[in-house]
């Protein structure tokens, strides 16, 4: 029972960052109809940026976190402007090929710059964990959860309460009509991709110190993000949030009680199960974002 409780707590902490990954990817897919294979590389980029600032340069860890999120957003905007903007109107498969090319370039650039050896990020949090009854959590993980929840809440506010969010939702529903109503579609696309990329970088920056930073860390992150998005329904933000927590829960329980070797297979089993029983995702609604 105590063990189960510990697994549940771990799942909630992991789920927060998974939700960030999922929200970013589902926004990009829902609004732009782009299957973003560079998503995991932006996750890795976030982790490496924190490593660069806090470990390599010896600056503040929290500064590294903020720089990682902003730089991730800027890199996302750059990718959108250089690779995706010229491809607008191309079919989804062609764009997918471009994104796969981008993924390979980014991953191997990381390998070239940082080498293949895993890096550890040291954080200013105390070593001694927070102990509540039978459950112990490191302070770092508490911090990770709090930041992830704040970013999720921030995304909701952005999408539901701001003008940009309204433009994004309008574009999602009907791009042509939104354009006729004066929505700057180009700007919305760039903002969407930057936001999604920033969220992915944030997830990487948060999980980088919890685990290790490696050039291939983005691969699994991409695949997990896909699993979350399929679980929640493509383009559904609430679905992605809940999906992130469900995936983390299934992984934790699966690793704890079935086999730790198959931990990363859980996401794919979820994909297959969802496609078998409910191909539209668990939270499918008629075409709407938010």
């Amino acid at each position: 029972m105590d063990q189960l409780l510990q697994h549940l707590v771990n799942a909630v902490i992991l789920g927060g960052t998974y939700a960030l990954l999922g929200i970013g990817l589902t926004l990009i897919f829902g609004i732009m109809r782009v299957v973003n294979f560079t998503h995991g590389e932006l996750y890795a980029f976030g982790a490496y940026t924190v490593y660069l600032i806090s470990a390599a340069l010896g600056l503040d860890f929290f500064l590294g976190l903020i720089v990682a999120i902003v730089a991730g957003g800027l890199l996302g905007a750059l990718i959108e402007i250089t690779l995706l903007r010229p491809m607008r109107g191309a079919d989804i498969d062609t764009v997918m090929l471009v994104m796969i090319g981008g993924w390979i370039v980014m991953q191997n650039t990381e390998l070239l710059v940082w080498g293949g050896v895993a890096k550890a990020i040291v954080t200013p949090f105390p070593e001694a964990p927070l102990v509540i009854g039978p459950v112990s959590i490191s302070w770092l993980r508490v911090f990770v959860l709090v930041v992830a929840l704040l970013l999720i809440a921030g995304s909701y506010v952005l999408i539901h309460r701001t003008k940009l969010g309204k433009a994004m939702r309008a574009t999602f529903q009907d791009t042509d009509t939104a354009a006729l109503m004066g929505v700057n579609i180009r700007g919305v696309y760039t903002a969407t991709f930057a936001l999604g990329s920033g969220l992915a970088a944030a997830a990487g920056a948060l999980l980088g110190p919890v685990f290790l930073v490696t050039p291939t860390m983005g691969d699994l992150a991409s695949l997990k993000a896909f699993a979350i998005v399929i679980l929640g329904g493509l383009g559904n933000i609430t679905g992605a949030t809940v999906g992130g927590f469900i995936l983390a829960l299934v992984e934790e329980i699966g690793a704890g009680y079935i086999s730790s070797g198959y931990r990363d297979a859980m996401g794919f089993l979820i994909i297959i199960a969802v496609l078998l029983f409910k191909p539209t995702g668990l939270f499918a609604r008629a075409e709407r974002v938010g």
């Binding site: 090319g101 370039v105 390998l111 695949l223 896909f226 297979a265 297959i272 078998l276």
Partner: protein
């Protein structure tokens, strides 16, 4: 000239071991040939049905593992006390088992994922490849996990009246790869030239229209997936018995990416495309190796993939064909002008 061209190329590839006795080049040709077979199978799905299978390496790896395990034998406890023991079989049987098992997994994946298409299909196939890699890594009793399956024996082919022949040397293996490649080429070209192929192309172009004229969409997609997976599995078997050692890294995503790059560079939806792309990307690493680290090479390949999609979205083969057509047309026109200028007005009979 156009008719003579295929015969010319056939003679060239058939005589390679005679005028190119370099063992290293022959090795590159064999590996390239195996990947060309895999790329041809990917092209059947990507080029003709329009479905991007990004887990194609799974079928390749399943073929390799199934073939190797059939040949090496195994002793596995499935659940408490229930053991499955398999005595080693000849390697040639392994080839067919590998092909069939890969084809069956293609059927399962096709059935599962063609309920949904496009992005979903891509994601399911990637996930499937990742699951197979994790199984190969974790089911140590069957696959030896990261320790790899070693000492995979070469094929022994029995010729009636001539006795058995074991393919130890590279020249013999080159011809085997060539024969399998030719067989795969014939199967795929017959298929896409048939009614089935036209149905596949129809549903790539306009699925709604295709289904409204009575084409059973899922049936044809699953059929394409089965054949594609089986061909990839046979390539995997060739690979396993050639390199003689396979580990879970055979399921890595980079191999799928290699196949995809070969197909789109050469020209998806053309029969020659995967061959042209395969030769380019089979030899490019050999040329680049002395001057570029693997990471740099991959950056180049990724960038090249983006450039190809931007500049030559149809690939090299259709571009060359168009260029050839223009050229011959221009030639004829030029010849016509010459004729016209030679015949002066009033020269008539």
């Amino acid at each position: 000239m156009k008719r003579a061209l295929p015969a010319f190329w056939l003679i060239v590839v058939l005589t390679v071991p005679f005028w190119l006795p370099d063992q290293y080049i022959l090795h590159i040709l064999i590996i390239t040939g195996i990947f060309i077979i895999a790329a041809m199978s990917l092209n059947l799905l990507l080029g003709y049905t329009g479905q991007l299978s990004l887990g194609h390496v799974a079928f390749f790896g399943i073929g390799a593992y199934a073939s190797a395990l059939t040949t090496l034998g195994f002793d596995v406890e499935l659940f408490a006390g229930f053991r499955v023991v398999h005595e080693p079989w000849p390697a040639v049987v392994g080839f067919f088992v590998g092909t069939i098992v890969a084809g069956m997994s293609g059927y399962v994946i096709g059935r599962l994922s063609f309920k949904v298409r496009g992005a979903y299909f891509v994601i399911v196939t990637i996930s499937f490849a990742e699951v197979t890699r994790l199984v190969a890594l974790n089911w140590v009793e069957l696959t030896q996990g990261p320790l790899a399956l070693t000492n995979i024996p070469p094929y022994t082919i029995g010729f009636p009246g001539l006795g058995d022949y074991t393919l130890w040397n590279k020249t013999a293996y080159y011809y085997l790869v060539l024969a399998v490649g030719l067989a795969a080429y014939i199967v795929i070209s017959r298929l896409v030239g048939s009614r089935i192929g036209r149905a596949m192309i129809a549903l790539k172009e306009n699925e709604t229209l295709a289904s409204s004229v009575g084409i059973d969409v899922t049936h044809y997609l699953v059929l394409a997936a089965v054949i594609s997976a089986a061909v990839a599995g046979s390539a995997g078997s060739l690979y396993a018995h050639y390199v003689k050692i396979i580990d879970p890294d055979i399921f890595l995503f980079v191999y799928t990416v290699m196949m995809v790059i070969m197909v789109i560079t050469g020209g998806k939806g053309t029969l020659a495309g995967p061959i042209v792309g395969g030769i380019i990307f089979g030899f490019l690493p050999v040329i680049l190796r002395p001057i570029a680290a693997p990471a740099v090479q991959w950056i180049l390949y990724g960038a090249l993939m983006i450039v190809i999609v931007f500049v030559l979205p149809q690939g090299i083969v259709p571009a060359v064909e168009r260029w050839m057509a223009n050229w011959t047309q221009f030639g004829r026109k030029a010849a016509g002008i010459m004729l016209a200028s030679n015949s002066k007005p009033g020269d008539g009979p």
